[in-house]
């Protein structure tokens, strides 16, 4: 009898704790996900704040809506899509990658590529000019023979002076 009572009591305790762990983190998870999603959605009244940061009444209603969708089991993307369908791309804090935002996303890369091409060409022409300079720095065959002759004359003259 005592054992029965104890086992009943323990099962009661376990079921209560299970019930608590089943609901408590769930509410936290909803709150956390609501906050995460809200941070990626623009407050359409204040424009440069997310609905998470904004105190505007509409932003607060939108947060409530996000929470409702999360509880209803929508994925983060589904919640965003829901509001995007009604407010357009503008409601997303981070612009989506699509035709009219191509330049926005690829612009910086284009700049870097253009600079790299310009730089590579510049380096190549510089090399070419340097090579040409190098080539022109030496003496031609004709100049070389004249120089040897002149030097030979000079030594002859010097010898003559000695004697």
């Amino acid at each position: 009898m005592k054992y029965l009572f104890l086992s009943l009591l323990s099962s009661l305790v376990i079921s209560i704790s299970v019930a608590q762990t089943a609901t408590a983190p769930d509410a936290n998870a909803v709150e956390e996900r609501t906050a995460t999603i809200s941070k990626t959605l623009r407050c359409v009244v204040c424009q440069n704040q997310s609905i998470h940061d904004s105190n505007a009444p509409l932003a607060s209603d939108m947060r409530t809506l996000v929470e409702k969708r999360v509880i209803a089991g929508d994925s983060d993307d589904e919640v965003r899509a829901y509001l995007r369908e009604r407010y357009g791309d503008f409601v997303l804090m981070s612009p989506p990658f699509q035709i009219n935002t191509l330049l926005l996303w690829l612009g910086p890369a284009l700049f870097v590529a253009a600079f790299a091409i310009w730089f590579a060409r510049r380096v190549r022409t510089n090399h070419k000019i340097a090579a040409e300079n190098e080539a022109s720095r030496g003496l031609s065959e004709d100049e070389r023979s004249r120089l040897t002759a002149a030097l030979a004359d000079l030594t002859d003259i010097n010898k003559g002076n000695d004697t």
């Binding site: 009244v45 509409l58 209603d61 409530t64 809506l65 509001l83 009604r86 407010y87 357009g88 503008f90």
Partner: protein, 185 residues
């Protein structure tokens, strides 16, 4: 005396050209008002709604009330200063019997809204209250006033952001009203 053909080097102009291009793009960007959000809702179905009425004794307002009529759904609030600007136009339109005037009292206090309507006149055939932005968010409303033109089949035909001025009415909305009537015939 023929001067030797000299190849012109335009590369020195590149930075100036780049600057001019950028300046042009930025100038175009400045002329666009980011507050005028694109209306995603045009030509879509009116979202389904079923909201309590503002006036005591009125029945709830829902999609069924819009069926078979051309309706102007006007989002307003007693807190909304710009709503006063368009109010006389709404009162004027309320005398037409081919358009049903539907008010969506948004995020307001009932008694304040009723007092406001008593003061400025009540142009609405039906008034629904949307305390928690349920329908407002479904409609992609960003601020009051906003006015939606709904066709008899429940399709959203036009969205006016900001006050419904004489000009907005005659240039943008009235032609659509006439087009809807022409479609019906």
């Amino acid at each position: 005396m023929a001067t030797p053909e000299k190849k012109r080097d335009w590369s020195a102009l590149a930075p100036i050209m780049a600057f001019a291009g950028l300046a042009f793009l930025l100038a175009v960007g400045l002329t666009r008002d980011p507050r005028l959000l694109p209306s995603e809702m045009i030509d879509r179905e009116m979202p389904s709604f079923d909201l309590p009425a503002l006036r005591a004794g009125d029945a709830r307002v829902s999609n069924a009330d819009l069926e078979g009529q051309i309706s102007l759904v006007n989002v307003f609030g007693s807190w909304c200063a710009a709503c006063i600007v368009e109010h006389s136009k709404l009162v004027e339109l309320s005398f037409r019997n081919d358009i049903q005037m539907v008010g969506l009292n948004w995020r307001d206090n009932n008694s304040a809204a009723l007092r406001w309507l008593a003061q400025y006149g009540d142009p609405y055939d039906l008034i629904a209250i949307d305390t928690n932005s349920d329908l407002a968010i479904e409609l992609g409303v960003t601020g009051a006033p906003e006015t939606f033109l709904i066709g008899p089949n429940g399709q959203i035909r036009y969205k006016q952001i900001g006050p419904l001025t004489d000009q907005a009415w005659s240039e943008n909305i009235e032609p659509i009203v006439n087009a809807i009537k022409a479609e019906a015939n």
